[in-house]
């Protein structure tokens, strides 16, 4: 029982990371109807952005690990990734908006490969050690909790889950209660009607990419708190799992992406702990295939009718 709860806690923390990345996939699909293959690599860039800015930002808050310094690193990584996301969209996807989907998909693959191999060229192939922005340690659970006190919950895990919830809440506010958010929703429902109603399509799309990439950047920093070894290829695996999470939750549906991320994280932890760690990756593909075969619109999505 304890082991099960422990795996659940592990899965929750990992799932939060997938949720953050999955949101980016789902938002871009919502407005552009295409899968941004390069999104996983933005997560990687977020980790590296944090790696390079952390020394200077931590110095501002006194040198050692601190919540304030960590917050600065997080925000800076989010801003950098937002800029990168907007840049990629502007240079590589916008010129192809009238082209067949296949063309954009191939371009996205090209961008993804470029970020990965470029990252290896610029940062070196060896993993880097992410600086300690928060002192990660196991929280001492009071003995009065009885048997539960033998669980290990780390400060890092709490921060990850907490930050994810905070970011999701902010996102929800933006999407539901701001004019820009309304414009985004309009765009994903019907682009032509939205532009007739006066929505600036280009600006909203850029905004969508900015938010999605910022989420991925945040995920990059948060993950580095728990797993401080970052390398240019770390986005491949996480990106793939987050994509499956987005599909599982219903692609185009933001709460769905969050839900999907959590589910995938939990599923992974349980399979690794109780079945066989080598099944971790094939399992995720299996989930994808099953979802696409039996409920392509995902858990929270509505089936889309294709008009001709």
């Amino acid at each position: 029982m304890i082991e099960f709860l422990q795996q659940l806690i592990n899965g929750l923390a990992q799932g939060s990371i997938y949720a953050l990345i999955a949101i980016g996939y789902t938002m871009v699909f919502g407005v552009l109807r295409f899968i941004n293959f390069a999104h996983g690599d933005v997560y990687m860039l977020g980790a590296f952005a944090g790696f390079y800015t952390a020394p200077k930002l931590m110095a501002l808050s006194g040198g050692g690990p601190s919540y304030f310094g960590a917050g600065l690193v997080l925000v800076s990584a989010m801003l950098i990734c937002a800029a990168i996301g907007v840049l990629i969209e502007r240079l590589c996807y916008r010129p192809l908006r009238q082209h067949p989907r296949l063309t954009v998909l191939i371009t996205a693959i090209g961008v993804s490969l470029l970020l990965e191999s470029g990252g290896q060229y610029l940062f070196g192939a060896d993993p880097e050690a992410f600086p300690e922005i928060i002192a990660d340690s196991a929280i001492e659970l009071p003995a009065s909790w009885g048997i539960l006190s033998s669980l290990t919950i780390t400060v890092g895990q709490v921060i990850v889950v907490g930050s994810t919830l905070a970011l999701l809440f902010i996102l929800r506010t933006v999407v539901l209660h701001t004019k820009t958010g309304m414009a985004m929703r309009a765009l994903s429902l019907n682009p032509i009607a939205a532009s007739l109603a006066g929505v600036n399509i280009d600006a909203i799309i850029s905004f969508t990419f900015a938010i999605g990439s910022a989420m991925a950047g945040a995920a990059g920093v948060l993950t580095s708190i728990q797993q401080p070894s970052i390398d240019p290829l770390m986005g491949i695996n996480a990106g793939l799992k987050a994509f499956v999470a987005a599909v599982l939750g219903g692609i185009g549906n933001i709460p769905g992406a969050a839900l999907g991320g959590l589910l995938i994280g939990l599923l992974e932890a349980l399979v690794v702990g109780y079945v066989n760690p080598t099944y971790r990756d094939p399992l995720v593909f299996a989930v994808l295939i099953l979802v696409l075969l039996f409920k392509p619109s995902g858990l929270l999505g509505k089936p889309e009718r294709e008009k001709v």
Binding site: Y121, A129, T152
Partner: protein
């Protein structure tokens, strides 16, 4: 059919003409090297290449061998299977090398070895530890010890420290890890120990808490983690977070720049076997470390030391043979006895593997400490 583009035509023409330009002058001895300088295994390849390069520089500084300078022709296999065969063919037939140095990864050595064997060009691997590599033929050598020896060394060490109940955490994606674990387990069982839990992970994994949770429940005296530094550093960190206090044991795959940077203090109290220790006070080792540091600005690791030794042994063999003729050179390499190398005293045995000692290093206060040398 449309006219092929001018770019394509000129590329075609250049590709035919360029390689015809000779790379080695007549008074130089060409030696080939193939390594992973880019791609996923780049850190190993770059290390061994630096060591080899330094050796060549030193050899040529004193006039080379047999009155000629040695010319190192290096090709990058980009960590991609399929490439070693092509580039070794190029080195042999195009650049007419007298010998080939490479590779670190056993799978790449296994790919290139048949070609060197068929062409009767001696091949010396600096760091491939899979026994199968030298079994390809009598022109294939290595200057490192092999997995069976290393696995046994660590099992003896564990026994010596009184650790009887051992858990094993293997990287199933790496043949190196699987091989080392196999021989370690054999050794432990032979010494009366017990394997209390076996868990697995894959290269590239970042989260090991599920496996470590399971291992913790089995209450081992020590945990053997024969993987590569990229994952070992995270494993150590997460083990400490989960409250695992027993030492970790490992092999030469632990050696990597980021191991201690990422793991910090969480590896204190752990041990691993290796080819080389930069802290070894021996004059030969310190001399190498100093020169490497001044040329590259970093402390050399195992791969660099082995890359250096493979080049030095080749040069010594050329000297002893008095010629670069392939059969004579092969015999000279095979006859290497008691060579005073940076990674120990090397004698090549009848199976063309290096018979030499392993060092066991401890990690204390975030640094490596030399513990002992284990003779074969």
């Amino acid at each position: 059919m449309p006219i092929p583009s001018p770019l394509g035509l000129s590329a075609l023409a250049a590709s035919v003409l360029l390689p015809l330009l000779p790379l080695a002058a007549a008074d130089e001895i060409p030696v080939g090297e193939f390594a992973s300088l880019t791609g996923a295994s780049a850190s190993f390849g770059q290390s061994s290449h630096k060591g080899t390069e330094l050796a060549f520089e030193q050899i040529n500084a004193v006039g080379g061998v047999l009155g000629k300078k040695l010319r190192l022709i290096t090709e990058d296999d980009q960590s991609q299977a399929g490439q070693p065969a092509t580039i070794v063919r190029k080195l042999i037939s195009q650049d007419k090398v007298v010998a080939v140095l490479g590779e670190v990864a056993s799978s790449k050595s296994l790919e290139a070895a048949p070609i060197c064997q068929q062409n009767k060009i001696p091949m010396i691997s600096p760091a491939s530890t899979n026994p199968k590599v030298t079994e390809v033929g009598d022109y294939i050598f290595r200057v490192c010890f092999i997995d069976p020896f290393q696995g046994t060394v660590m099992s003896k060490f564990a026994r010596g420290r009184g650790w009887k109940k051992i858990a094993v955490l293997t990287d199933v994606k790496q043949d190196y890890s699987v091989g080392l674990a196999e021989f370690f387990i054999k050794g432990v069982l032979a010494n009366g120990g017990e394997i209390v839990r076996e868990q697995k992970y894959s290269t590239g994994d970042k989260d090991f808490k599920p496996q470590l949770t399971s291992i913790k429940a089995a209450q081992p005296d020590a945990i053997f983690v024969p993987g590569y530094y990229g994952e070992v550093s995270l494993i150590a960190k997460q083990a400490k977070l989960l409250g695992i206090k027993v030492p970790l044991l490992g092999g030469d795959g632990w050696v990597g720049d980021s191991l201690l940077k990422v793991a910090g203090k969480s590896l204190d109290g752990s041990f691993f076997s290796s080819h080389f220790s930069a802290a070894d006070k021996a004059e030969k080792v310190q001399g190498f470390v100093t020169k490497f540091k001044s040329k590259y600005g970093e402390i050399p690791d195992d791969m660099a030391a082995l890359g250096y030794d493979s080049a030095m042994i080749l040069a010594d063999a050329i000297r002893r043979a008095g010629t670069t003729e392939s059969a004579a050179l092969r015999d000279a390499v095979a006859a290497t006895k008691g060579f005073d190398a940076v990674t120990g005293t090397i004698t090549l045995d009848a199976r063309r593997n290096a018979s030499k000692s392993a060092v066991i290093l401890a990690i204390e206060n975030g640094g490596f400490q030399f513990v002992e040398t284990v003779q074969p």
